[in-house]
Assembly symmetry: C2
Homo-oligomer: 332 residues x 2
DNA sequence: TTGTATGCGTTATCAC
DNA sequence: GTGATAACGCATACAA
């Protein structure tokens, strides 16, 4: 492999000039530049990025912590991250954490060892051993850690849950169940809060037994629906905190020979590509997944550069998508 | 940040000894090791991986080229890659290529510049400018490049397609349509080949007009179904080359008020998590996605180490999963 | 605008 | 088993 030395010799210039030609071409005369470029071609020289990274103390790499890469919503976020990272000259290291704190910390430590310059965390945890001490550039996307000074980009989950609940209320539903995400999750808490708020505004008392917790998987949605649809009086609508669980819930309802939405309305969250093609098509909240990723990467870039952030806690717009899985309450 | 120098001073040993304690502890006496470890803790020393990588000419990183990270099948493969990579001490760089050759080449070049040591390619392209010259350790997973010396792990797509086709034939279907993947794709070609083979074995002539090409998206499946279900005589079964397109096809069939499977049988491929919860549940081919990733990473490891591969073209087992989207032909 | 010289933090070589 | 030291390839401060 040719080194910068070989190029400099062939071009008859110093290594410094070759280096400059590559990284600050405006500081090199047109003529010299040409000479150097010819020599680079001739030698098929490729700068050794390992050496460059070492010398500059930069890896041009960020690590993204994702609880489950196989979740279509997260993978869309990652796609957004990747695209913007590439534009900004960064590579993306994948850290599938399976929600394990231990693995989050392992990956986050890559910043300590200079392997990565910053972290994008898609879960609601602080990925450091010392929870109080944020020791590396980090940004939250989709979810966030409450009360902690970590910049984040998400939707207004409280308002989104309110809007969905109001939609269900407007269809005449009074006994609304919830299939929630993990209880500790910030977005889950926010959405539940918004939901309860709407109920209260409508003069309806929220009942704890109307909530079942899932893990965002289809299976957990089906299981939660089984629990909720066998209490009495049976709810006439279920507000699910993601589309997968809604699809699982619909599946169980159908198995029980309930018609969706005639017997039971079921709503989702995220608007994944399957939502539109579910039977019936899912009423859901559309979240700008790619934009989350893209925006988070831009924010992280600023944090890494030491730039001031315009908004530390960014909210992106969401949209209620009304489809056929929710309908008028025919039961009471 | 403490360096190896600081540790050596505090421990009263040479930097070489500190380095050895970290990377070859068996070459250091118990006593010295303890001294060094105390000093490491004291100074909170973390080896600079950038410097280490530079010195050893290794990045301990592999790059994975994926056409579309948001495809649930690919993300499962990536999960498998990530898990095994972590075990083997490698980090995974994400290269979402959108199927663009240009981006594949860009990412593959990271090996030239030492940023990555090897490549896992999930698409059926050679990620190098010079197609004839394989210039970096590379392994194919799921798909493969035909006639090229790139190690690969996949299922026997020909046999899988045969098995599915035979299943449809056994249900009495004679006019079977195909919703295929991209025409240039190797796995598409293999599956089509297997399909045609089965038809021939059954004495049925394959008709080109019974094939529509999609891009693996739900939308493309719906569109392809629209084309196929409006030719005459209408096929009584559709063999789709992935689950997303099958779900799209089912969606269109229902829209046309056709019953699946009474009027039309539709089969998928991949067995993604949504397959089981589709309505009706999808008959499909289960592929070991995580194992593809895991196995590919192990193979790449061997290639990078210069080890001989036990099998250069590995086939993993698949399974025909019979569900309710395929049924007996009631039409002729 | 260009060249010279230095050093980044680590590992490897070779003495001891 | 341990230490002294060179070297990896590059970017940069400084001199010219």
């Amino acid at each position: 492999m040719a080194t910068i030395r070989d190029v400099s010799r062939l071009a008859g210039v110093s290594v410094a000039t070759v280096s400059r030609t590559l990284t600050k071409p405006d500081k090199v005369s047109q003529k010299t530049r040409e000479k150097v470029n010819v020599a680079i071609k001739e030698t098929n020289y490729k700068p050794d990025i390992l050496a460059r990274n070492f010398r500059t103390r930069k890896s041009s790499t960020v690590v993204v912590l994702v609880p489950d890469i196989a979740n279509p919503f997260f993978s869309r976020v990652i796609r957004g991250i990747e695209q913007t990272a590439q534009k900004l000259g960064y590579a993306v290291l994948l850290g599938d954490t399976q929600g394990l704190r231990e693995r989050e910390i392992t990956y986050a430590k890559m910043v300590d060892t200079s392997q990565a310059e910053g972290i994008i965390q898609l879960d609601c945890h602080i990925p450091f051993e010392d929870q109080e001490n944020i020791t590396a550039p980090v940004v939250n996307a989709c979810d966030c850690v409450r009360g902690i000074e970590i910049p984040s980009v998400q939707i207004d989950n409280i308002s989104a849950a309110k809007e969905m609940t109001e939609h269900l209320l407007s269809l005449g539903h009074k006994n609304i169940a919830v299939i929630s995400g993990p209880e500790q999750s910030t977005i889950t808490q926010d959405r539940l809060f918004g939901h309860i708020n709407s109920l209260n505004d409508a003069g309806i008392t929220f009942k704890t037994e109307n909530v079942a917790y899932g893990d965002y998987s289809i299976q957990s949605g089906a299981k939660a629906a089984e629990k909720l649809l066998n209490i009495s009086p049976s709810p006439t609508a279920i507000f699910c905190m993601n589309d997968e669980m809604a699809i699982g819930a619909i599946h169980y309802a159908k198995k029980k020979r309930l018609s969706v939405p005639d017997d039971i309305s079921i709503s989702g969250f995220d608007n994944i590509s399957f939502a539109e093609y579910s039977d019936p098509p899912l009423t859901t909240i559309s979240q700008p997944a790619e934009e989350f990723g893209s925006f988070a990467m831009s924010m992280l870039f600023d944090v890494m550069k030491g730039n001031e952030l315009e908004e530390k806690y960014k909210l992106l717009p969401f949209e209620l998508i009304k489809r056929k899985s929710t309908g008028i309450n025919n039961h009471d």
